[in-house]
């Protein structure tokens, strides 16, 4: 495979962003490699009802 790119003009007006978070990237420029990984967890076990935090080895995940 032969991959050829012709970068003619690149003109952008206005960009409106509410948030950039959790190891994410907003880039105006060139890049070669990009790896963005995320682990996010809100499991049922994280919803705790009780006055004492039930906590011990092996709980949660």
């Amino acid at each position: 495979m032969n991959f050829t790119v012709h970068n003619w003009g690149l003109n952008v007006g206005h960009i409106q962003i509410t948030g950039v978070s959790s190891s994410s990237v907003f880039l105006v420029g060139d890049n070669e490699t990009i790896k963005l990984s995320s682990m996010f967890d809100t499991p049922p076990e994280s919803y705790i009802v009780g006055s004492i935090i039930p906590f011990g080895a092996g709980r949660g995940g």
Binding site: N7, V12, I17, V20, S21, G29, N31, T33, M39, T42
Partner: protein, 140 residues
């Protein structure tokens, strides 16, 4: 050769928790964040309640992306400029990056876990009863 990024106007309201706002070129960035978000009814928090070591989420390996297969490619920059007139960002947070300029290699990782802790309904009733009794006594 890389291109020139040209931005006339930048507005960023806030930048927090290990995040970066960079103007200019860079070669490598590998930001990493691990966070535990605890939303709890009641005002008492203890930093030692939730150690990272108690949760496998913070030790399990990320799936590795094998060596990127290189495709033979040519880039012709007929216009060496990237023009962005303006950008507004409300918040930059959690080891993230906002950059004007080139960034060759990026490897960003995040591990986040949420907890929601609610007070026991029965205990809340008891507390309310106690408060009412207290008030009753004060009024007497």
């Amino acid at each position: 050769m890389k291109r020139n990024a040209k931005v006339q106007h930048i507005y960023i309201n806030s930048n927090a928790y290990g995040s970066v706002i960079q103007i200019g070129d860079a070669v490598k960035a590998d930001p990493y964040i691990r966070a535990i978000a605890v939303q709890k009814e009641g005002a008492f928090f203890d930093t030692n309640d939730f150690p990272f070591s108690a949760f496998p989420l913070y030790t399990r390996p990320f799936p590795e992306i094998k060596e990127e297969s290189s495709i033979p490619q040519q880039h012709h920059h007929r216009d060496r400029n990237i023009h962005v007139h303006s950008f507004d960002i409300e918040g930059v947070t959690g080891s993230s990056i906002v950059q004007v300029g080139s960034l060759k290699d990026i490897d960003a990782k995040a591990r986040l876990k949420h907890f929601r802790i609610l007070a026991d309904e029965d205990e809340k009733e008891e507390e309310n009863d106690n408060e009412e009794n207290q008030k009753g006594r004060e009024n007497r």
